[in-house]
Structure formats: C-alpha cells, structure tokens
C-alpha cells in the first residue's frame, strides 16, 4: 500500500499561497480575539440524532388559540406542522394561519436579540441605527425608566396592546401588568374596527355573540365573514363560536343562510346574498323589526314577558319607573292590576311549562303614582312604527319585498312557542337568528346596530336559547343584576355606583378619553390626539413612556400620521416585538419576543363553541419550545413578570395571577412577596390541575398536557343556568339612556364639551332604543359617488405573527387570487365609467385618503361599492417590497372626533369615495 497525501499535491506556489491566506486570517483572528476555537456546538449521538420526533404544541395565530398541533422535528429542525387529530378542539385540522407557524419560527427577519436605537431621530423612514444589546442592559434600561414613572405618577406609562398581544395565554400583558402598574392608559389598538363587545355584554353578559350552527335553521348574517373568509379550524371564545367545519355542517344539514353584505364572500356560495349599501345595516334590521311588530304581528310574547325587560314600565322621561320604597323597577301585574316590583311573584314566576304565569302587561298606558307609564314593549312598538321596509329600501337599496320575505322566513323558522328536550331539560327552541358582525357595527352608531340586533332576536325569543343568538362561553353569565336583568361587566355603566371604572372625572385620567366614552371598547385614535394636543383634551399631565406590545395602530387603525406624531413625543419608548414592524421603528429599546413555537405556556379555554356538530368543550393546551430557542429571545409573560419583579410590584402580580389562573386556595397559590419566573407559574398551574408529580418536566417527557371534556349538552346553553323567569335580557337599554343623562349632567357641571363633538349630536347616540342617524359617508359631497368596503381574508385574519411579511404566505395569497392587490368593482359600474379589468385607478375618499391600484371587475360586489380584500400595503421602508405590495384600506378612513361611535368606540369602516383612471 503506497502512502499518499491526504490532500492532492499542490504546486509549491499554490501551497505557499494557501498558507499565506490562512496565515493572514488566522493571525488577524489571533490579534482580535482571545480564542478562535470552535464554541458553538455540542456533541450528540450521531445515530440517535438523525431520527425525527413529534412534539405536541398548540397554535397561536389567532386570539383563541385552541388548535392542538403535532410538530415534526427532524435533526432539531421543524419540518412539518399538522393539526393534532386527538385535540378535541380542531380534530386534526389547521387553518392557513396555523400552517404558517413554521414560517413564523424560521422567518429570517425576526428580531434575534434585544435592540437599542442609536439614532435619536425618529420616523418611519429613519434608520434607527439599531444595535443588539444584552437582556441585562435592555431590561435594566426599561426598569429604570418605568421605575421613575411608577414613583412619580403611574399615568405617565402608556401600555399599548393589540391583537399580537391578545391571546388568553398572555395574562401578564392583559390585564396583569397595566393593572398592577396602576396606569389608566392601557390602550388597545385592536377593536376600533370591530367594536363587537358592547351589544353582547349588554344583552347576554358575554364578551361576544355566538351563533348556534348545531341547531339554527335560518341565519341572517349581516356584515360578517364566516366560514371560508374567516377560516377557523376550531372555535374558541371570542370568535362567534363558529368553526368553518361547523358552518359547513350546518349548511349540509339544511340551514339557510342569508348574507347581507355589500360584498359576496366565500360563504355566499352556500347561501342567499343580499347586497346592501354600506352603513345602512341598521335600517335593514329596523325594517325587519317593523314587519314583525306591525305587519306579521308574530313575536314571542311569552319570551318577551318572562325573559326580557319588555314589560318594565317606562316613564315619560324614558327611565324605568321605580318603586319609591325599594327603587326596584316596576311592571304592571295583570293579576292584581297594579304596578309591582320586578321580583314580585305575580310577574317573576314565569315558567316555560306554564305560559300563563309571569303575568306582566306588555302594552297599555298606566297611571303610576300620578305619572303615566307604559311597558317598554309598547314604547318599542311605537319606536318602530314608521321604520317600514319602504323607508329602508330607499336607504339600503334592498327591495321592500325582499325585506318582508326574509323577515317572514325568519319568523317561520323561529318556531315561536316550540320547545326542545336536551338530556331531560326542556328549553325554548328558536332555530333562527340575526347576527351582526364587523361590517355592520363598525360605524358611528354601531352600538345602535347591536341594540337593534338584540331587539329583533328578543322579539322572536332567540336570545341565549338553542338555535338562537347565544353568548360565547357556557357559564352562568346571564345572572340578573339589581334591576333583574342581565348586567354587563365593569366596562359599562359608569353612572352606577358599583361600576366606577370609567366614571366621569375632570381633568380626565385616561388619554383615550374613557371619561367621555365610558362604554367604549377602545379609542386609541383619540389618545394620539390627546397626547399631541393635551389642552384640547383637558389632559394635565405628560405621558413619559410607551410600552408597546403586539399593537400596530399605524396599519391596523387609521390616521397613522396622528399616531406617529404621538409616538414621537414619548421621552422613552420600548416595545416587546417579534419583528420590526412600523411601531417598533419608534422604539428606544426593543425587547425581543420569541416565536409561537418557542414558548412555554398553556391555554385554558373554558367554553368552546360547536365543533363539527358538538358543543361545549372545556379544555387546556400546553406547549414548550419545540426546538431550542433559536435566538436570544423571550416570551412576553416572562419579560413582564421579570419586569414586575424588578419594579417591586410582584406581590400584586402574584395575587392577580393566582386568582386568574385558578391557583387561589390551592397549595400552588403564588406567595405574594416571592419572585417567580413564568416557568414556575406554568409549573404551578400544571401541578394544580394534574397532581404534584405532573409539572412541566413530566409533560415534556410524556407528551401533551392537553385535556378536554365535553360539557353535557344542556349545560352549553346559558338558559340552563337561569331558566324560566330567572333572568331577563334587556331589549330596552335603559342604562344607555342613563349614561347620556349622566354625561349631560357632568358636562354641564364641569362646563366642558366632549372634545370635537357638538354635545347634542354626541348625546343623540345614547338612547334606550336604536335610532338611525345617517353616517358621514351618507352625507358626503355628491362627487364621492361610491362606497369603499373591506373584509377579512383567511390568511390574514388578525394579522398576527408577521403574516404580511412572511414571503411564502404573501406569495400564496397572490397566487390564489389577485383580489388582495386589486380594487374590486362591479362589472356594470366599471363599464358605465369606461373602466376595464386591470385598469389602474386612483380611489380618493371623502376624508382625503388616496389609494392607487389595478381594478378587478366582478359581479360579486354591490354596484355602488369598491371592495378591498384584507389590509396590505405596509408602510415602513425597511419592511421589504413584498410587505409593501397591495393596498392599505384603512388609509381611506377617518376617526376624527365627531365621526366615530361615541358609545362603543367603533370607527366608520366605510367611506364615500370617488374613482378616477390613472
């Protein structure tokens, strides 16, 4: 055997050259670094390591992250994600967002370590001169700045949250940290374009509405994308309880769906599409109600009498007439022919089994202590008298005959008077409902649409019963309050002593003006103006720091310029960010957030709507990093708990967490003075549920910790908890009228007006019954002859996890349809304007916003409407070309004072626009 060189022989010259080259670099390394040996690798067993493993995890690409996943890991790299077939919530399915989790992990543009800006100048297109820094430096800086504010005046901290921070598995962000810090300025950017909660809380005591696809036979869905456009692989709270499959099953079962929408979304393939002029949803619902009350005269009299406040006596001032001795609202008893408090057995003993009980009058005029009073139902009858289908036709563009037909179908389908037996429990059965979503309620007057929805469902008895409009979780939510009706949570009703969260105060504490908009879901756009013009908004202090997490008001809200101006005023700005989106561009310190699959966490969902025909899943998911955390990042719970520990506010944090996570009263309750890490908290939760030996270590070794159980079906309807006459759903919202009076009194006393509002115009929105007040787009100059609308698309709903910037996701969207980069116009309208498919046009809104893009002609849109799918066209110059493609619909809108809903806080989701060819 002849010996040969391990390297083929080089010429002497090559050899010298190679030696010189390596010598130069090695010498340089020797000068610069202490050591140049390999330091980044650890030994593994090369045989064993090649195998692949499957890790149980759960998704978090929407706000109800119920879907269990199986993550395939090969050589330490995630190669595939699939729905976990054993996870009861999604039963093996994932939506497109869920599938994109893999890109979320390996997105090369993630933030990899905390960052500090070195360029003090701030702006969307200004290079911040980022430098990576250590966690010690980053957290130390943030803690020092926040510590000063905490000592001086906690109002100085604005904690700005959005959908990115909003999942029920991030309790430190919402509500723990802002609460224990004591700032009133927890400001949310999610919601102004979908202020859905006011109506559900008012009527059902529930955070959102949910439809019942297991039993509904007739669904009128107004301004909302269900099914394909929304794409839910599972259903969890806050998502209207409808998975795409559940909807599909309902349609297969024969449910009729009427989609009232300016745009025909995916679900209209299986339903009837009724195109409507944007913003006129309220007249449509009101006209249906008029038909029920004054034409068909078919309503659920039992339900109204026993299960709503329709028989409550109303005085001429619109308020309940109350018993002078007890202050309880009075009803007119048809047994004793006199007014009695609501809890008098003559009126409160209503029974499903005996409709004669609960003998309260629904109509008539009565003398009560010398004053005239009428049951609320009588007031409702009058209120709707003139709101005829013909009146509505002129506004909505929907023929009166269509309104009448749909109403008759709805009432027929409701099967008024029928009952259903579920596991031995008898319920009213009303398999028909009206559901109003984002497109219907995001208007000035959006709260009125919610009230009108509550009224019409109440009239047919379809409130919180099988087949009808229900709450989103299955608990004894509709517990009656002091007036005998379902009461909302603390977000509402400032004028009642026991709910003082948003009580009137001058000067106001809240930058978002909660003192003037006490029922609002969120009003971030007002806060930005108040920050830059404090005098106008009566603000007497200067916000000192912004901590932003998961919020992007520059894209997902409107008037980015106002938010930017406010952002620039903060002496200190920090963000918890997964990627450098537009708002992070303003940060002084960026705290690097880990990606979904790198987090240790759990998600408890108490009450999950129907999935594939079943209802009422109570379950828990658990996850831990599926691979080594790739970079130097941390999850938000850890970051904020650590910050609380450093700031010395760990005791209240521990107390709140113990209460929220169900640890109170267990051996695992967090001890107030101790400093916990998030891992320890999760470990305590797991052990409290599964036993002392079953903490994180156990589940890491043995796989998933998800559990799930189906509630007995009867317990999935809240009627079960308060049956018969045990609670009442208000359809006459007396306390909203009360809020108006409360505000009027306080404004007068303080001698102020609501900034930017004419007081009478503002107060007009606070009524007990829904009133049609035309929106700004209906009053725009004539040249703005079209309306703009947009809708959610499956791959972008919630916009979480940097979906817009994940090139593969964006490319998929563009391949699927050119909708996402186009302006949709009705083909006939286009023809009449001399515009062809593909032409470039400029759309200008009544508020001055402009968008330019190619036209896509279609018959799936109302002739008076231009449509925009999703919300693209990102603005930051460093975001890259893919993210900047498409159109940012929100730029067409406005949230000027006086132009948004002063009750629920929703902004106008539509605008009057004009079109010109480029």
């Amino acid at each position: 055997m002849s010996e040969k060189s391990l390297r083929p022989e080089l010429t002497r010259r090559d050899f010298l050259k190679a030696t010189a080259m390596t010598g130069a670099v090695a010498a340089m390394g020797g000068k610069l670094f202490k050591s140049t040996t390999s330091s980044m690798f650890a030994k593994v067993d090369s045989q064993a390591a090649d195998g692949s493993t499957i890790v149980h995890s759960y998704c978090k690409m929407c706000i109800g992250p119920a879907c269990g996943t199986l993550v395939h890991v090969k050589n330490g790299v995630v190669t595939q994600i699939e729905g976990d077939p054993e996870s009861l919530a999604n039963q093996g399915k994932l939506c497109p967002r869920g599938n994109s989790n893999i890109y979320n992990l390996y997105n090369p543009y993630r933030i990899k370590s905390p960052l500090k800006r070195t360029n003090p100048e701030k702006g969307m297109d200004v290079d911040p001169g980022w430098v990576e820094i250590s966690w010690d430096e980053a957290m130390g800086t943030v803690a020092q700045k926040l510590g000063d504010i905490l000592k001086e005046d906690p109002r100085g901290l604005v904690f700005h949250l959005g959908f990115g921070s909003m999942a029920d598995d991030q309790p430190m962000a919402r509500p723990v940290f802002p609460t224990i810090f004591g700032t009133p300025n927890e400001i949310e950017s999610n919601g102004p374009l979908c202020p859905v909660h006011f109506g559900a809380l008012a009527n059902l005591g529930s955070f959102t509405y949910s439809i019942d696809p297991t039993r509904a036979n007739y669904l009128v869905v107004i301004g909302h994308s269900l099914g394909g456009d929304f794409a839910k692989a599972s259903c969890a709270t806050v998502l209207h309880g409808v998975s795409t499959e559940a909807l599909q099953n309902a349609l297969d079962r024969g449910m009729k769906m009427v989609v009232v929408n300016p745009h025909a979304g995916a679900e209209t393939i299986r339903g009837e599409w009724v195109p409507i002029i944007p913003g006129t949803e309220l007249p449509f619902i009101q006209a249906m109600t008029n038909v029920i009350l004054h034409e068909l005269k078919r309503y659920d009299e039992w339900f109204l009498r026993v299960r709503t406040n329709a028989p409550y006596l109303i005085g001429e001032d619109g308020d309940y007439v109350r018993d002078p001795a007890t202050n309880k609202p009075l009803l007119w008893s048809t047994i004793s022919n006199k007014p009695v408090p609501f809890d008098n057995p003559e009126v409160s003993n209503g029974r499903l089994s005996d409709p004669s009980l609960g003998a309260a009058a629904l109509s008539g005029t009565f003398d009560v202590n010398g004053k005239l009073a009428r049951p609320a139902f009588d007031v409702i009858m009058d209120h709707y008298k003139e709101l005829t289908p013909e009146w509505a036709e002129a506004l909505t563009g929907i023929p009166a005959a269509t309104i009448r037909r749909i109403t008759a179908e709805l009432v027929d389908a409701a099967q008024i008077g029928s009952t259903i037996d579920i596991n031995g429990f008898t319920f009213p059965y009303r398999p028909a409902l009206v559901f109003s979503g984002r497109g219907a309620i995001s208007h000035r007057g959006g709260a009125n649409v919610m009230l009108a929805t509550n009224v019409i469902n109440g009239l047919i008895g379809a409130t919180d019963v099988p087949g009808g409009l229900t709450g989103e979780s299955f608990n004894p939510l509709p517990e009656p309050g002091i007036d005998g009706t379902v009461e909302p949570n603390a977000r509402l009703v400032p004028q009642k002593g026991e709910w003082i969260r948003n009580a009137f105060k001058m000067p106001p504490d809240h930058l978002d003006m909660a003192e003037f908009y006490p029922h609002r879901h969120c009003t971030p756009y007002v806060a930005w103006r108040a920050i830059t013009d404090p005098a106008k908004y009566y603000i007497d202090y200067q916000p000192k720091a912004m901590l932003l997490y998961g919020a992007n008001p520059l894209i997902n809200n409107i008037r980015a310029d106002e938010a930017i101006a406010a952002f620039k005023t903060f002496p200190f700005f920090a963000s918890i960010s997964y990627h450098l989106d537009e708002p992070s561009q303003f940060s002084d310190i960026v705290l690097a957030e880990s990606s979904n699959m790198e987090r240790l966490n759990y998600y408890d969902f108490q009450g999950c709507g129907p999935i594939a025909g079943k209802r009422g899943l109570h379950a828990m998911n658990f996850k831990y990093p599926v691979v080594n955390v790739l970079y130097d990042t941390r999850d938000s719970n850890s970051i904020l708990l650590d910050l609380a520990n450093t700031l010395g506010i760990n005791a209240p944090a521990n107390g709140m967490l113990s209460g929220m996570l169900g640890l109170m009263g267990t051996p695992y309750a967090l001890v107030p003075p101790q400093k916990y890490t998030w891992d320890k908290v999760v470990d305590a939760v797991l052990k409290s549920r599964f036993g002392d030996d079953k903490g994180i270590a156990y589940f890491k070794e043995h796989g998933a910790a998800w559990t799930g159980k189906w509630l007995p079906e009867e317990k999935t309807y809240n009627y079960f908890y308060f049956p018969d006459g045990k609670t009442r759903h208000p359809i006459y919202l007396e306390y909203l009228l009360g809020t108006g009076k409360y505000m009027k009194d306080n404004l007068t006393k303080a001698n102020v007006t609501v900034p930017g509002w004419d007081t009478d115009k503002y107060l007009a929105f606070f009524g007990a019954l829904p009133t049609w007040i035309p929106h700004p787009e209906h009053e725009a100059p004539k040249e703005f002859d079209l309306f703009a609308v947009n809708w959610k698309i499956a791959t972008r709903t919630f916009g979480m996890g940097a979906l817009d910037e994940l090139t593969p996701v964006r490319e998929m969207q563009q391949k699927q349809s050119r909708e996402t980069d186009s302006i949709l116009i009705n083909a006939d309208t286009a023809r009449s304007k001399g515009i062809k498919d593909g032409d470039k046009v400029v759309v200008e809104s009544q508020y001055g916003g402009k968008l330019e893009g190619p036209v896509m002609t279609t018959l799936l849109i109302h002739p008076k409407v231009l449509g925009f799918a999703g919300n693209f066209g990102r603005r930051g110059m460093f975001l890259g070309p893919k993210a900047r493609e498409g159109l940012n619909y929100n730029q067409l809108l406005s949230a000027e004072d006086g132009y948004f809903d002063p009750v629920a806080g929703g902004i106008e989701i539509t605008a009057a626009v004009k079109l010109s060819k480029v």
Partner: protein, 236 residues
Amino acid sequence: MREKNSKHNEYAQKARAHGKTFGSLARIFNQRPDAALVINIKSMELEFFNQFPGGEDLNSDVKEGLSKISAFVEQITDQPEKTVEQSLLVDWTRLFRGLQPGYGPKPPYEGVYLGENENDFKVLESVARFYTKHGVTPAENAGNRPDYIGLELDFLCYLCEQQVEAWEKGDEGQAFNYQLAEHEFLKDHLGRWGAIFCVRVTEEARTDFYRGFAHMTKGIIEEMANAPRPISINKD
C-alpha cells in the same frame, strides 16, 4: 490507526491553521463587537499588515480585506473607543442580524440563499442533518439558526480541530473522515452561498472593518471550496 509520524505533524499543523482561519471568521459573525475588540483593533500596528506577501502570492480578496482593515485601523486612530464600538455595533447588527428585508443584505442563512424562497427550512434541515451526522448540534446557547454563516464557519473550525486531534493520535482514518467532511460541507453548503453573501456585505458595509472581513471571508470560502477533494492516505 498508524503510529504518529512527522507527516502527521505537518498535516496537523495545516488543519490547525485551517481551524484558526475558520474560527477567526466565525468569531466575527458570532460575536458582537465590544470594547475589548476595539482595543485590540486599535493596538494593531501597521507592520502587522506588511508581514503578508503581496502580488499574486496572496488571494486577491484576502489582500483587499487586509488593506480595508488596515485602512480602518488608520481611520480610527483618533476616534474615542466608544465611538468606534458603536459604529462597529451598528454595522454588525445591520449586516449580519437580518432585521428587516429592506435593511442590510439578505440575512446570512443558507436557507435564505439556497432555498426556493426566503424561508426554506428544507435547506436548513439538510445543514442540521450534516451536523448531526458528524456528531454535533448547535449548542443551546448558539443563539442562531443552524444555517447561520457564523455557525457554518464554526462547524468548519470544529471539523479542523477534530482533524488535529486525530492526527495527533495518529488516527489517519478519523482524520480523513473529518477532512472529507470539511471538503463536502464547503462544497455542498457554505461554498455555495457564503461568497454571494460576502459580496453583498462589501457593498452594504459602512465600516471598512466589516467590508474587509467580508472580502477575507469571501476569499477563504472560494479558495477552500475549490480545493480538490482529499484522497484517503490508504488508497492505492
């Protein structure tokens, strides 16, 4: 295994030089510039740069790199250390950390350069497979995707160190395996994209320090990746 002989020493020396080369470059990408680095840069004398051969006796990129770094040393002579540290840190963050698509070069991950799109985790998995095949995996504190340029260079450094160890033990078979792995990794992985990335860095860098190192890295990767396949010592 054979007895260790003088040839083995020579091979070990060569492998050591390669290891130090890859290790030095890896440090540039893996380690944030700090005060110590600035002090070390400032302490470099110009004679240091004159010790290397000129003309065609040195790879042109390495030569260019040396000249850029030498220029940098001159430029910062009068600058305070803090200023230098910050400008290096800004440059390092922008060039190597892939913060935003429009901010600095495309991030230095093999999957980004060789995948079908910017996120190709199949490429990433093939890199990780290569590592595990050779008995290692990125350590928990590696703080980066397995296909990061700094990790790929560090892996090459590791392979060279293993060669040194094998030569010192006289284990020719093992030495050959690691030498082959070094060659294949350069050919199939880093050699296919590293130089492309380095060219982008030379265009985008704001300091001559990193521009210089990008040139040097490019030169090293190209030369090493084009080296002939090693042949077993035992092969007839």
